[in-house]
Amino acid sequence: MNLYDPERDRVRIAGRWLRWGLKWVAVPAALGIFVSGNLDAHALPLLGPERETAVLFQDGQAYFGHLDDSGEGGTLLLRDAYYFADAKGAPTGLSVGLVKRGTEAHEPADGMRVNRDKVLALEQVGPSSPVAVAIQAERDIDHESASVLSLNRRTVGSAQVLTLQRTAAEHDIQRGYAAATDQLAKLNELVLPVTKAEAQVISQKAVADLRAVRRNALAALALAFGTNANDAQAYANATEALLEGQTFTNEPGVLLAPDLNAVVSRATQLYTQVGDVYAKQLTEPKTASPSPSPTPSPGPRP
């Protein structure tokens, strides 16, 4: 008579428990750890707010975007990337401006593969930080819609954000204009090699050109917001009248959306070019002949 009862075999019982434990405990626990390791509880996919990551490089550059660091290789993938460009001396009052990756001469496609060895640090961008707000405004300007079903939902700027950005850009354009006219006025206070009457004519032309730059910049701003050409011109004329005479010197700087920043940067470049041209006319003595004289001039040229 066989006394062996497989139901009472300790090895078999242990095996049954192990199989049960693997199926109902170990696998869910491993899954929980894996999912949690790749998720941020503060920005859950589908439900939570957008998770924007700052990638700080060892050479001092900073990029912002949707980071995918799930791969075990040494490469990170950064999508929808933005970065800081130097903007010292810009009328925004900030030392950097935000630029969208993809607008460079080589027009790279979306998705930067970043070597982890070159990364200094990763940080979460604050959802209401100037960088996040500028990115949200840029998406709105580019007519991107907020994604509904996405692992990392894109947020689009509200009407209030857009108004703040437009106002800040208008003020930046006016600040650049005020700085350029101020520079011109300071130049007129110097002893110039041209007569007072000539200096006045040159200065009037300079101010007219600077105004044209300001008006065109305001129109470009309206076009960036999707206004048609006629309305943009009307907006520029109306806004120019409101801005006239204001300096906004004590206003805190606002980080602009890349498209608005490009308009302000272009206007600043043109203000400088116009200022340089007329400064040259004001400070260069008139010569009888356009050809350079072989004899050295008696005094140092300014």
């Binding site: 049960w20 199926k23 109902w24 405990v25 696998v27 869910p28 626990a29 491993a30 899954l31 929980g32 750890i33 999912v35 949690s36 390791g37 509880a41 700052a54 060892q58 050479d59 001092g60 900073a62 912002f64 800081f84 900030l94 950097v96 982890r116 060895d117 990364v119 200094l120 640090a121 990763l122 940080e123 979460q124 961008v125 604050g126 209401s128 930080s129 100037p130 960088v131 996040a132 980080l255």
Partner: protein
């Protein structure tokens, strides 16, 4: 109505073991999920100072609560760094001050991940360290 109710109760009775095991699996999944969120793959280190100085490959130094983690990244929480501020007088040496990270244009959260390859070395700050004292006071 009663027939439907009985069918449901009957189905629950017939599958009670499967339901019990599934509920357990969900509970284990959630427990593992929240435990990992709290744990954050950090490696516990006993007897260390509350604050550390982290010297990085590019010459920068961050101060804060340093945690070694499983994987490619280490973590610093409540990060501070030294900032040099030049005054109006160019002949004077710039002032150095300790700044809490978070007020930058991207307003980062208090957690910073650093690839281990970017770290040169880490040092504990003693209780007498003026930087540690400043950070302790700042947290109060």
């Amino acid at each position: 109505m009663m027939g439907r109710y009985r069918r449901v109760v009957g189905w629950i009775r017939a599958h009670r073991i499967l339901l019990r095991d599934s509920a357990l699996a969900i509970a284990v999944f959630l427990a593992a999920f929240f435990f990992t969120q709290w744990w954050d793959f950090t490696i516990p280190s006993l007897g260390r100072a509350p604050y550390q100085a982290v010297f990085l490959a590019n010459g920068q130094t961050y101060f804060g609560r340093y945690y070694d983690r499983i994987g490619a990244y280490a973590k610093i929480e409540d990060v501070y760094y030294l900032q040099q501020v030049s005054g109006n007088d160019a002949s004077q040496a710039p002032d150095t001050r300790l700044v809490r990270r978070g007020g930058e244009l991207h307003a980062p959260t208090h957690r910073m991940l650093i690839p281990k390859t970017a770290i040169q070395f880490v040092e504990d700050l003693t209780d007498a360290s003026p930087i540690a004292q400043f950070m302790t006071q700042d947290h109060r």
